[in-house]
């Protein structure tokens, strides 16, 4: 089976875009979540804010995801 190299490169590019974005986002989310858990242990009412702060870091992964979609869809 012959596969066009362009498709492979697109898939690779999309994978790198989302992969590294998710990696960075994951590390950041881990730090934010662990700090959040510490804060909740001290003050339970901070639950909402802690969870929001942990979710905040995920934006970077979303950007990676958008780039990946754009690579797959727009680069013909």
């Amino acid at each position: 089976m012959v596969v066009d190299i362009n498709i492979g490169l697109k898939a690779l590019g999309a994978g790198i875009a989302i992969g590294f974005a998710a990696l960075g986002s994951g590390i950041g989310q881990g730090q934010a979540a662990s700090a959040g858990v510490g804060a909740i242990a001290e003050k339970e009412e901070l639950f909402g804010k802690a969870i929001t702060l942990a979710a905040l870091v995920e934006t970077q992964a979303i950007y990676g995801f958008v780039i990946a979609i754009l690579i797959m869809v727009l680069l013909k």
Partner: protein
């Protein structure tokens, strides 16, 4: 609904003799927040004594409750009961809820409990002693001697104990030089040794024994052979244990019978205490008292009527408009029906200021919709529907029931959008039954879905922008209007015109587009020089953040797809089908839980971070009414306290 409840100030002046009745009625109504601010004159001489009295009753109920709770029999939750049966209603004896009845009841219960606990403690001590004796006696099993004979006499001594097996031989050798009668029983690690000898040799024998690691056993003062005694003590222990179980059963039955009454009494006295304690906030003259506070406007007339009723018209109540410091008034969120359930989400972020918009209604619209987009699966929606109904039916806590209501509304959007996009357990129907429906497939048309997500985001942000502009105009805050909102309007006009140019090619459009962009950059430059320019990518970032609507929808569909593919590969044989069904079941439950949680958190986040940043300030002080807490008791009971 779009703003917190309108507040009024309330001032009340009444004769002291109506104080109790007024306070009690206000406590029942729970409509006003009483301001702090009495001076020393506010404290009646008898106040401290009354407070101590009520507090003593409350503490007695609490202490008894703490003592009885460990004996409460809690049934293991059964799944069938949990799902299909409503929790049993709370029952207590309402006749106890007054001082005259509570006094003898608490005293009698205290006596009963002390008596039972004393008996239990004595029995436990006896069981402990008997167990220890039995253990010692059992060590001598096999020796056919009366244990009462292993005692010191005038001329002889006796000693018993354990010796490590490795030292036994050497020890016996050394002891052979004394006039001793030795009995031994060898074990795996230790040997039991009983020595009878002449008293004048005792010190030297003990010295030898201690050199070889001898551990003395104190023989209890009992009469009989070890086997006879073991039987006797075993029978005694069994009887003690039976008595112990009997007392525990009595305590359990007492707990079962009285805990509800004690819970009701504790609540009753807590409310009483609150009524007594609030009176130190009143200002006083020789025969009158006054109080001040805030009251929601819509409740003012009813409250005034009630005060006049209980004071026989001998109270002067004034309802006043808020003065210039009215913005400091406490904030009460006031939303009807299901919208109320979202108030908790608003409070989690921050209470609005008194003059600010209450975003609860906007969350009621936006939150379930975003949730539905992110979960987008009709089958998961149905699962969520039943889960939410269960939460609403089963739990009594208002906070948890509110979550149930939020999930219920979200489930409706999830079902609707799932049907729209043709997703039922992902592509389950397509894979196994070759049934296709829906407007379009999110997975294959991700570009369209991304565009839709960004458009939804843009609309949402612009709604926030309009609210922000409205607030700034109402506050006549021109600077805030320009630096916080106007530049976004200019940016959007410019971007919109560039898009029109892109599709029409009409060059005259470029001029206003460029002018709008110039105005935008000028404002931002004035705001924070070159760093102000960072606001532009930040705004686009906020808009792009709504791409998570698509991202989570794709994640739900993608995982469901993977589960279906894996299960589909296994459907070839009976065993394969069995595992296939297991994977379908487990996989879809996993996908449902993980993505429902994600949808909840991300819906919340889109509101808190992207949407609220456009208009919401927050920082209001929550209205905290003087209101009795009634979880176990009903209105009624003692009126003469």
């Amino acid at each position: 609904m779009l703003y917190p409840a309108r507040m009024k100030k309330i001032q009340l002046l009444a004769l002291d003799r109506y104080q109790e009745r007024i306070v009690e009625r206000l406590h029942e109504l729970g409509t006003l927040q009483i301001n702090e601010g009495a001076d020393e004159s506010g404290v009646l001489k008898s106040w401290e004594k009354r407070r101590e009295n009520v507090l003593a009753f409350k503490r007695r109920a609490e202490t008894l409750l703490d003592s009885l709770e460990p004996f409460e029999k809690i049934e293991k939750p059964q799944l069938r009961k949990l799902i299909f049966e409503k929790p049993a209603p709370f029952e207590c004896d309402p006749k106890l809820l007054n001082q005259e009845a509570a006094q003898p009841y608490l005293s009698s219960l205290q006596r009963k409990l002390t008596n039972l606990k004393d008996r239990l403690a004595r029995l436990e001590r006896e069981i402990e002693r008997t167990t220890a004796r039995l253990k010692t006696i059992k060590k001598f099993e096999g020796f056919k001697i009366d244990l009462s004979e292993i005692r010191d006499t005038k001329q002889t001594f006796s000693i018993a104990g354990d010796v490590p097996m490795e030292n036994l031989e050497e020890l016996l050798q050394e002891l052979s030089s004394f006039s001793l009668s030795l009995s031994k029983r060898e074990g795996e690690e230790k040997a039991l040794l009983i020595a009878l000898g002449l008293k004048w040799e005792k010190t030297r024998v003990v010295a030898v024994l201690s050199r070889y690691g001898f551990e003395r056993i104190i023989i209890p003062e009992v009469k009989g052979t070890p086997s006879e005694l073991a039987l006797e003590y075993e029978a005694k222990l069994e009887k003690l244990m039976q008595n112990n179980q009997k007392i525990l059963a009595e305590l359990e039955s007492l707990a079962q019978k009285e805990i509800n009454n004690l819970l009701a009494l504790r609540e009753f006295f807590e409310n009483k205490l609150e009524r007594v304690e609030v009176q130190q906030e009143f200002r006083r003259s020789a025969r009158t008292f006054t109080l001040e506070g805030y009251i929601p406007e819509r409740l003012a007339a009813k409250t005034v009527a009630e005060i006049e009723k209980v004071s026989d018209g001998y109270a002067a109540v004034m309802i006043l408009d808020l003065d210039e410091d009215g913005q400091q008034a406490p904030v009460m969120l006031d939303n009807p029906g299901h919208i109320k359930a979202f108030q908790g989400l608003t409070k989690t972020y921050a209470m609005p200021r008194y003059d600010e918009i209450d975003p609860t209604f906007l969350m009621f619209i936006g939150f379930p919709f975003f949730f539905g987009i992110m979960l987008t699966d009709a089958a998961y929606g149905v699962m969520l529907f039943f889960l939410s109904r269960f939460i609403m039916r089963r739990f009594e806590s208002p906070g948890i029931r509110d979550i149930g209501k939020i999930l219920w509304l979200s489930s409706l959007w999830t079902i609707a959008l799932g049907l729209l996009f043709g997703s039922v357990f992902g592509d389950f129907l397509q894979t196994f039954f070759n049934v296709r429906f829906g407007v379009f497939d999110v997975l294959s048309r991700a570009d369209v879905a991304l565009l839709l997500a960004v458009i939804v985001g843009l609309l949402h942000l612009n709604l926030g922008l309009m609210l922000g502009i409205k607030r700034k105009l109402a506050k006549r805050d021109a600077e805030g209007l320009v630096f916080e909102h106007l530049w976004i309007v200019m940016l959007e006009i410019s971007a919109g015109l560039f898009v029109v140019y892109r599709f029409t090619g009409a060059k005259p459009i470029l001029w206003p587009a460029a002018l709008a962009l110039l105005a935008c950059t000028f404002i931002l430059f004035r705001k924070a020089s070159i760093f102000g320019m960072l606001e532009i990518p930040s705004f686009f970032g906020a808009n792009l953040s709504y791409a998570r609507l698509l991202a989570l929808a794709l994640a739900t569909t993608g995982i469901a797809l993977a589960v279906n593919i894996i299960a589909g590969l296994l459907f070839g044989s009976v065993i394969g089908a069995f595992f296939g069904i297991l994977i379908l079941f487990g996989g879809h439950i996993f996908n449902f839980i993980i993505n429902a949680f994600g949808a909840f958190v991300h819906s919340m986040r889109l509101h808190y971070l992207e949407f609220f940043s456009m208009f919401y300030e927050g920082g209001g002080r929550e209205f905290s009414p003087f209101k009795e807490k009634r979880r176990y008791t009903k209105i009624g009971g003692d009126k003469t306290w």
